[in-house]
């Protein structure tokens, strides 16, 4: 007997969707036969707004491009401006930036963990992971004054020096988090239900990964050892020791294990930073005299940062005035969540959509800005 195909919208108002986007699914029974992503629910026209603002005004809005992990955006923007204007950043500021980026990575991984559990209906993991993530946000609040948006990494350096005793508190938190990790493993990553559902689902094979330009943990779960932090070291990543964890299965489980290993690497990087943080006070480059009007010379550049979900690229064009001609942003989800997701979802089950989207690290605001 022939079955009818029905079309449903998964999102934008749906508990199982990451952020505000929707996936149109053609279903035959529970099996997906065709998928199409619809984005644009979060489009604000950042690039237009940056065109109208001076460099320092624009810097306060770039962090809003990605909500779960704003710091790579700030760092990318700051580094791009520095490259265009030829500013020399002091070493202390570079160490502080690296520290903030790693803390941001850590909290983004915790948020991913919460989402991964939540998308399976395993509601203990959001309860634990979000609460532990809040401890990092407290440290951020102490350092920068902001819980989620920090506006800390300014073009030319960082905004504030370390508060007294901050590194000690950070170290204390890292010890706590490390002691929690085995519990997280037992709760979700070694949970038979999770293993059963995550293994062999949402597979990206290595050839597809290269062809589509997959980045970040999703690429590393396919067996490639590519990480911008290692390949083109920026800030102080050339100075610290860490390994790039990889898996070969390319499925949801593989991506989960890569991210789990990255949490450990972040902890190790942060410990090295605590040990090696210089004592000097200089945290700002020599800035142009007129603070209100930085003239960016004509020229363009491409800067990249490795965020927790993959590589961010900023294409920045200066035109000799105090405003940037163009800042174009490519977030990792622009690759993962449109063409790739549409093809991955075909022939998978309706109940796995939320899990697959979460394991790809889908985050709509960075697709549409």
């Amino acid at each position: 007997m022939a079955q009818d195909i029905i079309t449903i919208f998964h999102g934008p108002q749906h508990p199982g969707i990451t952020g505000n986007m929707s996936v149109e699914l053609d279903l035959l029974g529970e099996t997906i036969k065709r998928a199409e992503t619809h984005v644009g629910y979060l489009h604000r026209g950042f690039e237009k707004m940056i065109e109208r603002r001076t460099v320092l005004q624009a810097f306060t809005i770039v962090c809003r491009i990605c909500v779960p992990e704003p710091d790579p955006n700030e760092e990318n923007f700051a580094r791009g401006v520095e490259e265009l204007m030829g500013l020399e950043v002091p070493e202390k500021a570079k160490w502080l930036r690296t520290m903030v980026l790693e803390m941001a990575r850590l909290q983004a991984q915790m948020l991913w963990f919460a989402g991964q559990g939540g998308s399976l209906g395993h509601y203990i993991s959001p309860q634990w992971a979000v609460a532990d993530r809040d401890l990092i946000l407290d440290l951020f609040e102490e350092l920068t004054g902001g819980r989620v948006y920090h506006m800390y990494i300014t073009p030319g350096g960082v905004r504030r020096d370390l508060p007294e005793g901050f590194l000690g508190r950070l170290g204390h938190f890292l010890d706590y988090l490390e002691s929690r990790l085995p519990e997280y493993d037992n709760m979700l990553l070694r949970n038979p239900v999770f293993l059963e559902r995550a293994r062999g689902v949402g597979i990206i094979d290595p050839a597809t990964a290269r062809e589509y330009g997959v980045v970040g943990p999703n690429l590393r779960a396919c067996g490639f050892m590519n990480d911008i932090r290692k390949d083109e070291p920026y800030e102080m990543y050339g100075e610290v020791d860490f390994i790039v964890p990889t898996e070969t299965s390319g499925d949801v489980y593989g991506r989960a294990m890569v991210r789990r290993a990255e949490i450990e690497q972040s902890i190790s990087i942060l410990r090295q930073i605590i040990r090696r943080m210089p004592a000097e006070k200089e945290i700002m480059a020599v800035l142009p005299k007129n603070h209100r009007k930085w003239e960016v010379p004509k020229g363009d550049t491409l800067v990249k940062t490795e965020s927790a979900r993959g590589e961010y690229s900023y294409y920045m064009v200066g035109d000799g005035t105090d405003k940037l001609r163009r800042v174009q942003v490519k977030g990792p989800s622009a690759v993962h969540a449109i063409t790739l997701l549409e093809e991955m979802l075909v022939d998978s089950q309706l109940s796995d959509v939320a899990m697959i989207m979460n394991s790809l690290g889908t985050n709509p605001p960075e697709i549409e800005r």
């Binding site: 290269r210 062809e211 294409y315 001609r325």
Partner: protein
């Protein structure tokens, strides 16, 4: 011999007509070529020089000189070089054949540039509405699109709200004042 970005540029220069080239920083070079040469250069980069992936397609609007500059950024996972291949297209009604056949993710990037700048990409299979819904008029990312004027024409900026709506900070102050009063009374 170790591979340098200068060697790479020289090899490309031997095979194609390059109108300009520069090394921006370590591992990042820019090439200028004509629109006819674009596909040749990109295929050469992908197939011969093993530039596996397209990082993004940048687009900048140079309204003074009346052209868009499209930058195709190819990235190699073996040498970690990025090459920006730049072409200039006219600002109105220009069309560039798609590079979707070379790198699949170009489909999304072209779709975005089509919507934001109005550049046509013949051959792209998914060139339809992307971020905006029911958009009429000039593509918004063009320099001559005046966003402030658009906001003034289409939206009403803040005016007096509904009477019943309450502001949390006001409510909180009321609550705290009431609590203080209560404590004071208890004290007496």
């Amino acid at each position: 011999m170790t591979e340098t970005i200068d060697n790479l540029l020289e090899r490309i220069g031997r095979n194609f007509q390059i109108t300009g080239q520069e090394v921006k920083k370590a591992g990042l070079a820019a090439l200028h070529c004509s629109q006819e040469q674009l596909h040749g250069v990109l295929i050469y980069l992908k197939e011969v020089e093993k530039f596996d992936t397209l990082t993004m397609i940048g687009c900048a609007d140079w309204i003074e000189d009346d052209y868009f500059e499209l930058s195709y950024m190819a990235y190699s996972f073996t040498t970690f070089f990025t090459v920006m291949v730049k072409i200039r297209v006219s600002r109105d009604g220009s069309s560039v054949p798609t590079v979707e056949g070379i790198w699949r993710q170009a489909r999304t990037f072209e779709r975005e540039i089509h919507e934001m700048f109005g550049v046509d990409f013949p051959g792209n299979t998914r060139l339809k509405e992307f971020f905006l819904e029911n958009w009429q008029g000039m593509p918004p990312m063009k320099r001559d699109f005046d966003t402030v004027q658009f906001v003034k024409d289409h939206y009403k900026l803040r005016e007096e709200g509904r009477e019943g709506a309450c502001n949390v900070s006001v409510e909180r102050k009321k609550r705290i004042d009431a609590k203080k009063l209560e404590l004071k009374k208890e004290g007496e």
